[in-house]
Amino acid sequence: MSELYKLTLTEAAAKLQAREISASDMVGDCLARIEATEPDIHACLTVMGEEARAEAKALDEKGPDPAKPLWGVPVALKDLFCTKGVKTTAASKMLENFTPTYDAQVVTKLREAGAVIVAKTNLDEFAMGASTGFSAFGPSRNPWNTDKVPGGSSGGAAASVAAYQTPGGFGTDTGGSIRQPASLCGCVGLKPTYGRISRYGVMAFASSLDQPGPMARRVIDCARLLKAVAGPDARDNTASLHPVDDYDAVLPMKVKGMRLGLPKELWEANIDPELDGPLKAALAKLEEAGAELRPITIPNLKYSVATYYILACAEGSTNMARFDGVRYGHRTKDPRDLTELYVASRSEALGPEVRRRILLGTFALSSGYYDAYYKKAARVRRLIRDDYFKALEDCDFLLTPITSVPAWDFSKEHDPLTAYQLDLMTLPVNLAGLPGLSLPVGRGVKEGMPVGIQLVGRHFGESALFSAGLSFEEMFPPLL
């Protein structure tokens, strides 16, 4: 059978389980596809060809197992998930030669479900960025148009899925890092409720905002991936005990009567005409199908970018303190003393955006500024969270754009503040700890780049999100 790589994750899983195809064939085909597309896309930092082939072979020897819903399915992982014995770099020079001594919980769970990890994908260094442009190992490219960014920080995973290298993968989302690249590359991506998936073994950017999540070409594929990895973890004190639903068993939700809250602050923002048309068309189509579109207001939304960057950078600045050149990672050559070891190692190996955020976060926590910045932001966070929870009392979901701009050209550089402001649509969801699903609704007016939309669900409302996502998918055919 040829072109196995084109199968969706759910199709592939079914064929594998039915022994129509072998794990080795499926994995081999994806590896070949990776080899063919990498020169253009650069989605991967490490391709685990040998390991993946060996794992597939071992699976084939034992045969399919209905208890392993992802048996033989190749997946890609953002290179922020620790993989025991396999280099994990966070796209940083700091960890260029770092090999973790343990597996992230997501990795363990994926393997238990029978999945085969084939690649570690590119990202902005330590997940700080929105284009993969801050990867120390060069940016990834958007498979739709290689002059354009794939988004970020999980841009490598999105590009890999969009380039049919893998049927699905995992990224992490601190302020939009799954949903934005999924949207820019025409994939489906889910940022689950905070605590839905264990963060154990995911190199931390901002501990109270980070959440791993699936990316794929279909809603149901994301549901399957989430089901496999969700749940409590004895090693993560923030992983929730909330029951894990049969996410992959949900049925499409009736659009008629679906109450969709449309935050004015986001819909009235300055949205690029390239996106504006397709987004408005999507709204019209939903209304026509009987959805109740309710303009709502999120009064404290205007503070969300400021709040987010204070909190994320504050947490990030101290999460980055362990990268000190003492126990692992880059160490400067022949340091004279301890101070030089610290300062030179860190300054040589941490990139400009990481340094900028460390500085901002350190400042926000430092003596004299803590109350005005960090603590103030934490108070405003509660207001924003409460706004979102309140909005969701009267609506089934909130519906918002993902970005105000389509995938941009590599040549275009945003100044830091502008770049931060581009996260406006996605980051409040992280502040509130809610789940957000990103899925395509059309293509740009002139350039034809994918256009995505975001459904925000209730706390642990992933099943409902997938259910609504399935009916959206019926109305807005997948782009991939």
Binding site: S208, L338, A344, R346, S347, S366, P416
Partner: protein, 102 residues
């Protein structure tokens, strides 16, 4: 709060960063000024938080609504000493090694 060169430099030192690392003095100065300007712009924008009415609002440090209980006090030996030490840039026996602390 206006951000100036001095604050940027003292913050960098707190974070064990040298913003001039590997740069010629002129370049270093130019970069530092650019960075200071960027940070000042960002912090200037962030000062919008001052407008938010947070009187009587408790800070929210985590969106967690419930958390699993504490861990049981039972030893698990990970036996990863050698793997962990193998990552060390410098080691002596089974110690991590750094330049002598005065």
């Amino acid at each position: 709060m206006p951000i100036d060169l001095k604050i940027v430099q003292s913050t960098a030192s707190l974070a064990r960063l040298n913003l001039a690392q590997g740069l010629e003095p002129e370049q270093a100065q130019a970069d530092l000024e650019k960075l200071t300007h960027e940070l000042a712009t960002i912090v200037g924008y962030i000062d919008i938080l001052g407008e938010a009415d947070t009187q009587g609002v408790e800070p929210l440090y985590s969106p967690m609504l419930e958390a699993p209980g504490a861990r049981e006090d039972v030893v698990i030996n990970s036996n990863t000493t050698e793997e962990i030490l193998e990552q060390a840039p410098d080691r002596i026996g089974s110690f991590f090694a750094v330049p002598k602390i005065l």
